[in-house]
């Protein structure tokens, strides 16, 4: 199983310029350390207008900075919003290709469609049609990368024949993923031969069911790109400490803060009735578990907080479910001091990661 780190880039109030910069600088320091420690991928969301919860509106820039300061860790869009009011597909293809070139072929290309009214309304996008525009984009973008020249007549964009440049470094193109926040989207991923990038928090039982169905359906997929990316990621939190009580309390504080901030989001379903968003989205579980700001939340099942033994035990359960990767949120609104986040990463790499290396598995 591979491990990644996942950034929302949440900023605590008061929203000063210094706070904004410090959150970004802390994240970059964590990424540099994660690269040295052997983490596989750093992922960054694309969110807009989500006060405190996520100030990661230009992930291509953040990920470029990550790539320029690291050697091995892959850089992942988790995700790019494939809705025309947010991003023109040509610009998505161009920016991703440049990031892939600059990183030396380390890009993971995650796609999605936004789930909040705050964002959809902010760009005056129509929640009824985001799934269709996403579908159109994820089929067109790899063609832009693979074909010398490309033209397109679609429902959401069209272009005369042009050469979309540059081409990405990975040939034929970077692995493609879909963010899965609502039930059923993992099957959209499977049907298109794309990886399922879990961004919600679910139970082992539910995850196991989704993995089985995903694996079954992807056998019969029609790939959106040139190849099948048969992988599932699960989202998680990480706080590792030698002392179990400290690990759980500190990690719980981070989770509580995350849940409370996430609970403030105006999900599309709440504000705009549409079959395009059949459930409240990634936050259904989070809402049930949230307490109050800054207090320890009730951790969802399988969360990686505590001492190394506890965390190893929980991650083994994810592995048994058939999950290929786990991506960790390391902090929320700086609820955990930076030094403790770095220490947690080091301890995890030293004590937990070895249980999941190919060598450990063979033994």
């Amino acid at each position: 199983m591979k491990f990644g780190i996942f950034y929302e880039l949440s900023v605590p109030r008061p929203l000063t310029r210094d706070h904004e910069r410090q959150v970004y600088m802390n994240a970059l320091e964590q990424v540099r350390l994660a690269d040295q420690l052997g983490f596989d991928t750093v992922w960054a969301v694309e969110h807009h207008f989500l006060e405190e919860y996520s100030h990661c509106s230009a992930p291509e820039l953040f990920l470029t900075a990550c790539a320029m300061q690291t050697t091995n860790i892959r850089v992942g869009h988790g995700i790019v919003v494939c809705v025309p009011e947010f991003n023109h597909p040509i610009r998505i293809a161009e920016r991703a290709a440049v990031l892939d070139l600059l990183s030396g072929g380390r890009l993971e290309f995650g796609t999605g469609r936004s789930a909040t009214w705050t964002e959809l309304g902010g760009f005056r996008a129509n929640p009824d049609t985001t799934k269709k525009s996403w579908d159109e984009f994820v089929h067109a973008i790899p063609q832009m990368w693979m074909n010398e020249r490309f033209s397109f007549e679609g429902e959401f964009f069209s272009m005369p024949e042009r050469s979309v440049l540059p081409k990405p470094y990975q040939d034929p193109h970077p692995p493609m993923w879909v963010a899965v926040s609502t039930p059923g989207t993992e099957f959209d991923a499977a049907d298109r031969g794309m990886g399922a990038l879990g961004v919600n928090f679910t139970t082992f039982k539910e995850q196991e069911r989704r993995v089985q169905e995903y694996r079954r359906r992807i056998q019969h997929c029609t790939p959106a790109g040139a190849f099948v990316n048969d992988q599932l990621c699960a989202a998680n939190f990480l706080f590792c400490h030698d002392d179990s009580a400290n690990g759980i309390a500190t990690g719980g504080r981070m989770i509580g803060t995350f849940q409370y901030l996430a609970g403030q989001l105006d999900m599309a379903k709440e504000a705009f009735p549409t079959k395009g968003y059949p459930s409240p989205g990634l936050l259904a579980n989070t809402r049930r578990q949230a307490q109050s700001p800054g207090e320890a939340g009730q951790p969802p099942e399988g969360i990686a907080i505590g001492n190394p033994e506890q965390i190893t035990r929980e991650l083994k359960k994810w592995e048994a479910c058939g999950v290929d990767r786990v991506n960790f949120i390391l902090n929320t609104a700086e609820a955990i001091p930076q030094q403790q986040v770095l220490d947690s990463l080091r301890l995890f790499a030293a004590e937990v990661m070895p249980h999941f290396t190919p060598k450990a598995k063979a033994a």
Partner: protein, 248 residues
């Protein structure tokens, strides 16, 4: 920590409903027609309408809501509400700034039973092929007009109706009551939002509701259960810390 409201509850409570105890009755209302509009409003002015217990939504929006009730324990009535969408902790709620009811008996029952900040006036809710419409007035002075233009059917399961919050004086203390209606939706339509606020000072808006962008509007027919209030919160403390179950 998300932003909280800046309303002074003690000042707002002066004109709020005043009851010694909230009611124990449950109303079962069949065949109710409901109309709702969601409309974004300017952010800063609405903070002054929001108690410190609550967070503004991001972005802030109003959610005018009307009910046309064919029959109830006090007879038929129509009710139009001006609501500001807020968050109690993490839960979206419609904080009712004011309401108008066309039945004196219903207005009294809603005020005493559930703490609705309701005045008696004229409420006309109409359903036509090309629109649903609600008009509310007091003493002939129109205060609110909203509706659903060019409605098209949608699934009832796609709707989420917010629970209400009512600021009131309960005995000697100021509280915010949570009113949690349950809906069994039989049919629903969504369409073009219509909103007019002829008097921006009326309906508890105090000139602070400044519409900016239409979001959506919908109408539905449902059986509605209005249970007794079970939870109240301290208007001065965060909802997650100041909510308590009502002793009966």
């Amino acid at each position: 920590m998300p932003v909280v409201g800046t309303l002074d509850p003690s000042a707002a409570l002066v004109g709020a409903p005043h009851v010694d105890t909230l009611g124990d009755d449950t109303w079962e209302l069949e065949g109710v027609l409901a109309v709702q509009v969601n409309w974004e409003v300017r952010a800063d002015p609405t903070l002054g309408l929001t108690p410190p217990a609550l967070h503004p939504s991001i972005p802030p929006y109003i959610s005018p809501f009307a009910l046309k009730v064919a029959d109830s324990p006090v007879g038929p009535f129509s009710l139009a509400q001006m609501r500001l969408v807020v968050r109690a902790g993490i839960r979206p709620r419609g904080f009712c700034l004011a309401a108008v009811c066309d039945s004196e008996a219903a207005a009294e029952a809603l005020r005493v039973g559930w703490g609705f900040p309701v005045a008696v006036g004229e409420v006309a809710i109409t359903a036509r092929h090309d629109r649903y419409e609600c008009r509310a007035a007091i003493g002939g002075a129109e205060m609110l007009r909203f509706g659903v233009g060019d409605p098209e059917p949608i699934a009832g399961a796609d709707l989420l109706a917010f629970d209400n919050l009512h600021l009131l004086r309960l005995g000697d203390e100021g509280v915010i009551a949570q009113v949690n209606p349950e809906y069994v939706i039989h049919s629903a339509d969504r369409g073009r939002p219509i909103l007019e606020l002829p008097d921006p000072q009326a309906l508890g808006m105090g000139g602070r509701i400044r519409p900016t962008m239409a979001m959506t509007s919908f109408a539905f027919r449902a059986d509605v259960t209005l249970p007794p209030v079970r939870f109240v919160m301290d208007p001065q403390r965060l909802a997650v810390q100041g909510t308590r179950k009502l002793e009966r």
